[in-house]
């Protein structure tokens, strides 16, 4: 048998999600979606909050889970508080980055 051995609860659940591209922190893995009917049965997605991260976006599983943040809206609340509160305080940083 080859391939890396992992445990869904131990290695995936409650781990930090990180944007593979820029290292931004994107939330925690709250649950794991399994397709047990498939042949073979596989992991189909990670769940964080209301968002579903398809398995194809998982880039690397280490002490954190790195994903490619494509077509996901994981920054929604951070952006909301940024626009409505933090940006209104002087010195919050440049809009550019």
């Amino acid at each position: 048998m080859s391939g890396r051995v992992l445990h869904a609860q131990l290695h995936l659940r409650d781990r930090q999600l990180i944007d593979q591209r820029n290292g931004r922190l994107l939330g925690k893995v709250d649950d794991v979606e399994l397709d047990l009917e498939a042949d073979p049965p596989v992991v189909t997605a990670l769940i964080t909050g209301e968002q579903r991260i398809p398995a194809r976006l998982i880039a690397e599983i280490d002490t954190a889970v790195k994903i490619s943040n494509e077509g996901l809206d994981l920054d929604h609340w951070d952006d909301w508080f940024e626009r409505h509160i933090i940006d209104k305080i002087p010195g919050a940083g440049d809009k550019a980055d």
Partner: protein, 112 residues
């Protein structure tokens, strides 16, 4: 199905007798290749514990201070690894083909 629904389910043997609870799902990264060119995580089996507990702290793999390991294992009772071929997931439980005596202790199978 969500992992959360599977964890903590009752595990019954072929005769319908109680064995224990689902504690974790073992995955191997050798499934069908995804568009990202990575292999998918294939479900290979379940880790089943005798007594109900939500967390193993990773101690089913026998690492860490001996005393802590002993405490965790005392609480968990026996820990088994059940290959997926032997498992049937029903509406509310998990059934295992084999009887309790034929189960494989996890230690013998710690790092498959």
């Amino acid at each position: 199905m969500r992992l959360g629904e599977l964890l903590g389910r009752r595990v019954l043997d072929g005769a319908g007798d109680d064995i224990g609870w689902v504690a974790d799902v073992r995955l191997v990264q050798d499934g069908p290749v995804l568009p990202s060119m990575q292999a998918a995580f294939r479900v290979t089996g379940l880790i089943v514990i005798e007594h109900h507990a939500t967390h193993l702290f990773g101690y089913e793999r026998h690492v860490g201070p001996a005393l802590l390991r002993w405490l965790v294992h005392r609480r968990l009772g026996d820990v088994w690894y059940v290959p997926w071929e032997d498992v049937t997931v029903t509406a509310t439980t998990v059934e295992v083909v084999r009887g309790r005596a034929e189960l494989q202790p996890l230690e013998e199978n710690a790092r498959l």
